[in-house]
């Protein structure tokens, strides 16, 4: 890494892709393809979906056919359209939830870790208390507190996002706080103290950038958890109204009774959508995590093997 590389090849995902080999590369590419497919679906849902997400049809519980490729639900919704539109809702919730929790978590972590003292103790106790709560229960309580259970598109998205945020802040808080405490003892921070820099300057200029290096990884891993929490909320009936947005968890909830009577299409497709999206994001996050750590990163063998490969190529 001593040599300067072009800006493009130093971008987060691209640089990792270049470094990867073998199975790790396979994992990364699979995760990347799945995640990009999810993002494209979210972006182009209005054009991809044959119908609107709240459009009702008289044919209820119709099996897959030419007019309704993935069939319809008991409420008369088109399953294909709802699944495609659902990607959009999921995307918005992820972005809002993760951005909010990163923002708050990083600031609290920096301040708490650097200043220490009673402030640090109080924040750690609060974070631990939140951690000790079952995630979904907390999200439900927040959802009820914010929107009395169910609501329109944006307030629904925000209530889901904020419920998730509350659960995630302690995660970011802990990571950043631990890094800050480690960095606080580093000579370069001490040298800033000796030079006479103020606490705010030290936090903003010296610690912030060094402490947030692991964030892209937590981001991808948390994004998949956010989807699961959203689906869980929807499944339990604390999600977003079907008339204001399409949501996979809600659809799954209403497909429960269908499954026992042999109507497989209402539950299968939203379920698959959740599984594939979460799988894609997890693969992406995990493989980036491994690739960022030089000890976990696989490499091509030096010397001999490459020479042998070259020879094989020449022979062939």
């Amino acid at each position: 890494m001593e040599t300067k590389q072009s800006l493009f090849s130093r971008l987060p995902v691209i640089s990792q892709l270049k470094k990867s080999v073998g199975l790790q590369r396979g994992m990364l590419v699979t995760g990347l393809v799945m995640t990009i497919a999810f993002l494209l679906t979210a972006a182009f849902a209005p054009w991809l979906a044959p119908y609107g997400f709240s459009q009702r049809f008289d044919q209820t519980q119709a099996p897959p056919s030419a007019t309704h490729l993935w069939g319809t639900t008991a409420g008369g919704y088109d399953v294909l359209s709802r699944t495609l539109w659902g990607a959009q809702t999921a995307f918005l919730v992820i972005v809002v939830a993760v951005v909010l929790s990163i923002f708050l978590g990083v600031i609290l972590g920096l301040v708490s870790g650097y200043l220490g003292g009673w402030l640090d103790r109080v924040l750690v106790v609060v974070a631990d208390a939140i951690y000790a709560f079952p995630t979904l229960l907390l999200a439900m309580v927040m959802s009820i507190a914010i929107s009395q259970g169910r609501s329109s598109l944006w307030s629904g998205i925000f209530s889901a996002a904020i419920s998730i945020t509350v659960v995630f802040i302690p995660q970011y808080f802990r990571v950043i706080r631990a890094e800050t405490i480690r960095l606080k003892a580093e000579p370069f921070v001490e040298s800033a103290i000796v030079v006479g820099a103020s606490s705010v300057r030290i936090m903003a200029r010296h610690i912030y950038k060094n402490a947030t290096r692991t964030l892209p990884l937590i981001f991808t891993l948390n994004a998949s958890e956010a989807i699961l929490t959203l689906a869980g909320l929807g499944f339990l009936g604390f999600g977003i109204e079907p008339s204001s947005a399409a949501e996979w968890g809600y659809d799954l909830n209403h497909a429960q009774s269908d499954a026992t009577s042999g109507i497989w299409w209402t539950g299968l497709f939203p379920g698959l959508a959740i599984v594939l999206t979460v799988l894609g994001l997890t693969l992406l996050g995990e493989s980036m995590n491994d690739l960022n750590d030089p000890r976990l990163r696989g490499r091509k063998r030096a010397g001999k093997k490459r020479a042998r490969k070259d020879k094989e190529l020449v022979d062939a």
Partner: protein, 569 residues
């Protein structure tokens, strides 16, 4: 003396070498392409011979040592042959390799505190090798293993081995831990021990003991030793033959006497010339009384005490105990001591990084006992600090220019272009090219970084500079250059300096006045050459005599003197 005995000299014809390394090449796969760590290395070790591999960081000496034990990581590709008692380590199967390790060759690591597992007793760890190998084809019973472990501890001079075999690693001191590591290596009586910087993590007085132990092992049991080190003094003390490595190649190979007396290659000559030598080039040469006493007193410590609070129930630890000294403007005060002597604590207290708990410490007239960051901040611009590890003391996300500019931005209202000009001037004054302002810390070498660190410390022309072991993380040749630069700049700018180091020879080059710390107490202070030449306190004498000098003949004399000193106590 044993080193001149016939088994100590170069391998004789007919005597089968214990270790034979032929055309060893090691290549690492990295993100930046293949790195050739060891290019073409051949040497051998006769029974009972101590061969030192010396070189600076990046010379491939540690990689060579690891290749001997087959400990290279997966990313490494090695070729050539490493033959230990008839087996080629590079081509044998993993099973055979396990057989060879411990039985024919064992390793002593650099850091004894991490080489031992803290959750097992030392006896268990020594016996582990015995159980793994089943000498003479039968299983080693618990009683038998214990007996052998006690024997091994006895061999390496641990007192009361029957009792201490059940101790855990944390109950031993650093030097004793290294003895335990050596005992574990000896458990199966291997013909060869590879010692990778076995004394680097230890204090000089402890280092002398470990070197003595290694020499005894060779004399008593005929064990061959491959000694990997960067310390020329250690080489002169112990080695029969020396292999000098540079960037993966063997530069020169000769017996120790020949190599130190007349090195043939330029690189070896330069390397030896760079080693600081006690008594040469002393800063206080010709002084008969303390200089700079007519100048303003910059730092004044009276009965200074610094305590670290203990955990609940345990008493506080007193790191500095009733220490008194002064530093006058323009004077370089050298503070010497072993690890745990409190030298760094004093330096940090002067910079306000540690709180004082008793006595009085006045820095530029400010009483540090009632320290408040807010009120001390105005004095910050007058105190510069150079840290030990140049790699860690720069923020990796800021360029060198931004790092050096930081004190200017905080304490002056200079405009952007003026700051940039000043930073470039500063870099030039520490002999770095102006263009380096735009580089990032990882793009500089260790010595260059330490120069930039010096530039930052001097950015505001401070009245006092504290340098905490500024050269101990550097290679000797780089150290020599940084010391030279420090001396030049100090005489040019005339700031007062507190120079902290464990290396007496380094302190002697820079400091006119030297203080010796031992367990938090200042046992002796005086003019540099007098302390080094005619030490008064027993500890100073011991410290001086245990420092190995890079000259085998002189070192043999010093060693005898050291033994005498220890015996007389």
């Amino acid at each position: 003396m044993s080193r001149h005995s016939e088994n100590g000299v170069a391998p004789e014809a007919g005597l089968r070498p214990v270790l034979d390394v032929r055309d060893l090449k090691v290549t690492f796969a990295t993100d930046a392409g293949d790195v050739f760590a060891v290019k073409d290395v051949s040497f051998n070790v006769a029974p009972g011979e101590i061969v030192a591999i010396v070189g600076e960081s990046g010379s491939g000496k540690t990689v060579t040592a690891k290749a001997i034990l087959g400990l290279l990581p997966e990313t490494a590709q090695s070729s050539g042959a490493v033959i230990i008692s008839g087996n080629d380590v590079i081509s044998v199967s993993p099973h055979q390799l396990r057989q060879i390790r411990g039985r024919d060759v064992a390793m002593v690591f650099q850091e004894p505190s991490t080489a031992l597992n803290p959750v097992y007793t030392v006896g268990w760890q020594i016996a582990e090798g015995l159980r793994a190998h089943r000498p003479e084809g039968k299983r080693v019973g618990r009683k038998e293993a214990r007996k052998l472990a006690i024997e091994a501890l006895d061999k390496v001079g641990i007192p009361d081995p029957e009792k201490r075999v059940d101790y855990y690693p944390h109950q031993f001191s650093g030097g004793q831990k290294q003895r335990v590591v050596i005992a574990a290596a000896l458990a199966l009586n291997p013909g060869l021990i590879v010692a990778d910087e076995p004394t680097t993590a230890l204090d000089v007085t402890v280092q002398a003991e470990i070197l003595e132990l290694l020499r005894e092992l060779r004399d008593k049991f005929g064990t061959s030793i491959v000694l990997i080190t960067h310390n020329m003094g250690v080489v002169a003390d112990l080695a029969d033959r020396v292999v000098v490595m540079f960037q993966g190649d063997v530069v020169e190979e000769a017996t120790a006497e020949v190599l130190f007396a007349n090195p043939k290659k330029d690189y070896t000559q330069k390397l030896l010339a760079a080693v600081p030598h006690l008594g040469r080039n002393s800063a206080s040469a010709g002084f008969s009384e303390r200089a700079f006493q007519d100048k303003e007193v910059v730092v004044e410590a009276r009965e200074l005490e610094i305590e670290y609070p203990g955990r609940l129930g345990s008493p506080a630890f007193r790191a500095v105990d009733k220490v008194s000294f002064t530093i006058s403007a323009g004077e370089v005060f050298g503070l010497v001591g072993e690890s745990g002597s409190g030298k760094t604590t004093i330096g940090r207290a002067i910079a306000g990084l540690n709180r004082t708990t008793g006595g009085s410490l006045k820095v530029l007239g400010y009483e540090m006992l009632h320290y408040k960051e807010r009120s001390f901040r105005k004095h910050r611009k007058d105190v510069g600090f150079v840290f030990q590890d140049p790699a860690a003391s720069f923020n990796p996300h800021l360029s060198i220019g931004e790092c050096v500019a930081e004190p200017l931005i905080i304490h002056t209202d200079m405009s952007g272009p003026a700051v940039n000009r000043k930073v470039e001037d500063l870099l030039e004054s520490v002999q770095l090219p102006r263009a380096y302002a735009k580089r990032f810390p990882h793009e500089l070498s260790g010595g260059q970084r330490q120069r930039a660190s010096l530039a930052r410390g001097l950015a505001l022309s401070p009245k006092l500079l504290i340098a905490d072991e500024p050269t101990s993380a550097l290679d000797v040749s780089v150290q020599a250059k940084v010391l030279e630069l420090f001396r030049e700049i100090q005489s040019e700018l005339g700031f007062a300096a507190l120079f902290i180091s464990h290396d007496l020879a380094v302190v002697d080059i820079l400091a006119e006045w030297v203080g010796v710390l031992y367990k938090g107490k200042m046992v002796e202070q005086g003019i540099g050459h007098q302390i080094m030449g005619k030490p008064q306190h027993h500890y100073t004498k011991r410290l001086l005599s245990s420092l190995p000098v890079p000259n085998p003949a002189e070192q043999a004399q010093r060693r005898a003197l050291h033994q005498e000193l220890l015996a007389s106590r």
